[in-house]
């Protein structure tokens, strides 16, 4: 949706319908769209993760000291692992 919206066509929705109800598809689509919109906005606000790499709640100042100039989620490794498997590979 964020990077290749043109590929989400009737055939794609037909594939989704094999796995999800229309109610669930609308739920997913609205959720994804909402997050595409808000996370790009949040990025510009220079937020730092609320948690240390060990999962401990920390202040923004402490988080800035921990993560330096390149803040990312404390779940970075898990996210990277998930991204390594592309949606197309997952579907095959």
């Amino acid at each position: 949706m964020q990077f290749e919206p043109e590929s989400i066509d009737a055939a794609f929705y037909d594939r989704l319908r094999a796995h999800y109800t229309e109610e669930e598809i609308v739920e997913l689509g609205a959720f994804i769209g909402f997050n595409v919109g808000y996370h790009t906005f949040f990025r510009t606000l220079d937020f730092y993760p609320m948690f240390s790499p060990e999962g401990v709640l920390v202040s923004q100042e402490e988080s800035r000291r921990i993560y330096g100039d390149t803040p990312g989620s404390h779940l970075r490794d898990e996210v990277q692992d998930a991204l390594a498997e592309t949606p197309h590979e997952a579907a095959s």
Partner: protein, 173 residues
């Protein structure tokens, strides 16, 4: 026609969505197609349209400027549905198609816009093209022209409308 069929109006009304259906007509779609698609997921039409409407119609930033921004974002999302809608309230306040078009073009060099309006249009323009340029210096510039509350109002408008226009874009063959 959309790739997910909207629920019937009567079904939406049975879900208690009559006020949202009526409110949505403020954007010029009397059939409130978007609301009736969201109505497929119980609770979503209420939550998401209420947030979108609050961001667009309420607050302390000129509604007509926010309408230009909304259309600029719909064009960026390549969403023909929201690109074609127009706020009745904004049109009644004097917003013209010429001014809307100017907000999509070389607005930074257009004397019809104030410096504050140029910053807001540029904020929306950059957000999903070059978000890395929306940095502390850019926000500092904005704070000379807008209050922090107004900047959050514009940012919230940009985020929710662009996000859901991106979804709506995929529903049109």
């Amino acid at each position: 026609m959309t790739l997910i069929d909207p629920v019937d109006r009567s079904q939406a009304e049975e879900q208690g969505l009559r006020s949202r259906l009526d409110s949505f007509t403020g954007l010029g779609d009397e059939s409130a197609t978007f609301i009736r698609i969201l109505a497929r997921a119980p609770g979503y039409a209420e939550a998401l349209w209420d947030a979108m409407a609050e961001a667009l119609f309420e607050g302390n930033v000129d509604h007509a400027l926010k309408e230009i921004i909304r259309i600029q974002l719909a064009n960026k999302a390549e969403d023909p549905y929201f690109s074609s809608l127009r706020s009745k309230k904004a049109l009644e306040s004097g917003l013209t198609e010429e001014r809307i078009a100017a907000g999509q073009g070389d607005f930074l060099n257009d004397t019809q816009f104030t410096d504050a309006e140029k910053w807001a249009l540029d904020y929306a323009y950059r957000m999903y093209r070059t978000p890395e340029t929306v940095d502390a210096a850019f926000y500092d510039e904005g704070k000379q022209l807008w209050s922090e509350a107004q900047i959050m109002e514009i940012g919230g408008l940009v985020a929710i409308h662009y996000g859901l226009q991106t979804f709506m874009r995929t529903l049109q063959p």
